[in-house]
């Protein structure tokens, strides 16, 4: 989704107001004018300045406020992007419970099939990639990848 300059500028103004407002709650360094709030407020002022300039530019140019990107007109592309993000969320939620190997293999298989890789190739590639990554990170580099309910694989 592409935001027009006016809309983007407006959004930045709202963000900068929230940022500046929240920054006021930070305690000051006793006896000093400059403290924890100084820098976030400076950033908020910068963001607000950008927002105002974008709004002025957008209003002058008369651009649309909201425009769908080309890929958004293709339902398959939208579904693919959404499912890719969901796959990552799924990994975050499931891997600690079920373990790295089944969740990663499942995620890869799903993504390969989503991208129209032949099913046989998808199964082989998902299994091989999972085991190579597990061997490299858990076996060789000793990264404690989540075990979950899956039996330990010793390399």
């Amino acid at each position: 989704m592409r935001l027009g300059d006016t809309m983007l500028g407006g959004l930045l103004l709202i963000l900068s107001a929230a940022l500046a407002g929240f920054s006021q709650t930070f305690p000051a360094i006793p006896g000093q004018t400059y403290g924890a709030a100084t820098f976030p407020i400076a950033v908020a002022i910068g963001l607000a300045g950008c927002g105002v300039l974008l709004m002025i530019g957008g209003i002058r140019a008369g651009h649309r406020h909201l425009e769908a990107a080309e890929w958004m007109l293709d339902r398959r592309a939208v579904v693919s992007v959404a499912l890719t993000v969901l796959a990552m969320i799924g990994y975050i939620l499931l891997a600690p419970r079920l373990g790295f190997i089944p969740v990663m293999a499942g995620m890869l298989l799903g993504l390969f099939l989503l991208l129209q890789v032949h099913w046989l190739m998808a199964i082989v590639a998902a299994a091989a990639t999972t085991m190579v990554i597990h061997g490299l990170f858990a076996g060789f580099l000793l990264v404690p990848l989540p075990l979950g309910i899956f039996p330990r694989v010793s390399w």
Binding site: M1, R2, L3, L8, L19, F22, S23, F26, P27, A28, I29, Q32, T33, Y34, G35, A36, T38, F39, P40, V43, G46, L47, C50, L53, L54, G57, A69, W71, D74, R76, A77, S80, V81, T84, V85, M88, I89, Y91, I92, A95, P96, M104, M107, L108, L111, F112, L115, Q116, V117, M121, A125, T129, T130, I133, F137, L141, L142, V143, P144, L145
Partner: protein, 501 residues
């Protein structure tokens, strides 16, 4: 034993040499695949460097970055798709040569002059960095404040097509840098009660998200398009080298100087160096009409420039701790993790580590020739790897890499958030690089500003009282005012032109 002798001992061990070779192959592979940038290669490599000693870790990054920048020329020449943005400046030219059946000349020039450019940048780094470090030892918070601001200013005004959008990206990065407990007052900011956020946003997963996950999402959104057929077989790439050096030695030297100068500017990197060098090559050429028709002159100059910039970008990173480009932004994070705090004191307390890095730079640019030749030979096969297989595999590596940064799922959450943020930013034509520089330089900017203001009792004039600080401050302000000055100059010239017309 002297520091140099210790450095040679540090480098010439089988683990280090082996790491350099593996990183070289990785860099060549990622750089040669269109859409995967040198920064992405480095970002994907970083989680592996956590498990290495400092010298092989930094060596792996140096080699990977240099190889990826060169390898970006291969698909640019054979397919008209630049492998990395640093190759985009001369992709059309190189492809035009391929269509004329001169792919081997273009690729040979890319390989030879990339290696020579990298070596030139390295020698400047070797000679300039220690001298600058001596100067930097005299710096106070005022000079560092201006250096940090100059770096961010260059990233916005020089490195971006739309400074306004680059500013938006920069402020997003600066905001991210404020999250956590690490601030002059030591109070939690924007943590909303999360203990994970108290340590701030972990830079490595954020970067993997911004550079790699966002690219995967973009590729998926575009339907993971196939690369297409490789246009031509390549002949003997070495046979034209003597002739190229004899004919274009001036362009090569100029490219090296331009690349090194731009690379050394904090915030500007190899991409800009290549564009500037190509434009200057055309401007000073005796045969500018040949440009665009498949002429090697501009390629020589810009391919020299982008690799020279890769090396010289390390000057501000090592000397001041301010990244020269996105790759050195990553490097700074790695150096801190490895206890090699970048800055002038590194030259005092750890000279052997610095010399080891220099030796690896030379080694990386020398092995570029045999490895690059192999990559060119293997290009046809490499370019045929289906992207629909590649993208999920990259995503899997991103997930494990983000997890490995602190052995916690929190890293993957950060990666995902920044991946989606990067995707949305690029959708709205907001560049990513200033955001990364904002995240890296933000803490230094805040720290030096608040410290300076407390020292100066709130007087902003103190930022101009020391000579170097004043010089840096004036340079920064002049860059800020450059659009206004340019507009004023154009306006004052306009009536005259109208009169003439």
């Amino acid at each position: 034993m002297s520091a140099l002798g210790q450095a040679f001992e540090l480098v010439f061990q089988w683990q280090v040499i082996g790491t350099v070779f593996v990183a070289a192959m990785f860099g060549l592979m990622v750089g040669a695949i269109p859409g995967l940038t040198a920064t992405m290669a480095t970002a994907l490599l970083v989680p592996l460097t956590f498990f290495m000693d400092p010298v092989p870790a930094v060596g792996a990054i140096v080699t990977c970055a240099a190889m990826a920048i060169f390898a970006g020329d291969i698909p640019g020449t054979l397919l008209r798709i630049p492998g990395t943005p640093a190759s985009a400046a001369y992709t059309d030219e190189a492809y035009a040569m391929t269509r004329k059946g001169q792919a081997e000349i273009a690729l040979g020039a890319n390989l030879l002059f990339s290696a020579m450019g990298g070596l030139f940048g390295t020698f400047v780094l070797i000679f300039a960095a220690p001298t600058l470090a001596e100067v930097a030892l005299k710096f106070s918070s005022f000079e560092y404040f201006w250096m940090a601001l100059l770096g961010l200013t260059c990233a916005v005004f020089i490195g971006a097509s739309s400074p306004l959008r680059a500013f938006v990206s920069l402020f997003i990065g600066l905001f991210v840098s404020t999250i956590g407990l690490n601030n002059p007052a030591g109070v939690p900011r924007f943590t909303f009660g999360s203990t994970d956020l108290l340590a701030g946003i972990d830079f490595i997963p954020a970067m993997i998200g911004l550079f790699a996950v966002s690219e995967v999402l973009r590729s998926v959104a575009a339907g993971v398009p196939a690369i297409g057929r490789v246009q031509a077989a390549t002949g003997h790439i070495f046979s034209h080298w003597g002739n190229l050096i004899r004919t274009y030695w001036r362009q090569q030297i100029r490219g090296n100087i331009i690349g090194t100068s731009i690379g050394a500017l904090p915030g500007a990197g190899a991409d800009i160096a290549a564009w500037v060098a190509y434009a200057l090559s055309r401007k000073f050429s005796k045969t500018p009409e040949k440009f665009g028709t498949g002429h090697v002159e501009g390629i020589v100059e810009s391919t020299s420039a982008n690799n020279a910039a890769v090396s010289s970008a390390w000057i501000p990173a090592l000397v001041f701790g301010i990244p020269g480009d996105t790759i050195t932004a990553i490097v700074i994070g790695v150096l801190y993790v490895k206890g090699l705090n970048p800055g002038p004191t590194l030259f005092l307390f750890n000279p052997q580590a610095i010399y080891a890095v220099f030796i690896i730079f030379i080694l990386a640019n020398l092995v570029m020739i045999p490895f690059g030749w192999l990559a060119i030979k293997a290009a046809k096969r490499l370019l045929l790897v289906p992207r629909k297989l590649l993208m999920p595999i990259i995503l899997a590596f991103c997930i494990v890499g983000a997890f490995a940064s602190n052995n916690a799922t929190y890293g993957i959450v950060v990666m995902l958030v920044f991946g989606v943020l990067g995707f949305i930013m690029e959708e709205n034509r907001i560049p990513i690089a200033p955001c990364i520089l904002g995240i890296v330089i933000g803490p230094m900017l805040e720290d030096t500003f608040v410290t300076s203001m407390i020292k100066a009792d709130g007087s902003f004039l103190a930022f101009f009282e020391r000579p170097i600080a004043a010089g840096l401050g004036i340079a920064t302000i002049l860059i800020w005012l450059s659009p206004l000055i340019g507009r004023a100059v154009r306006k004052s010239g306009a009536p005259g032109e109208a009169g003439q017309g």
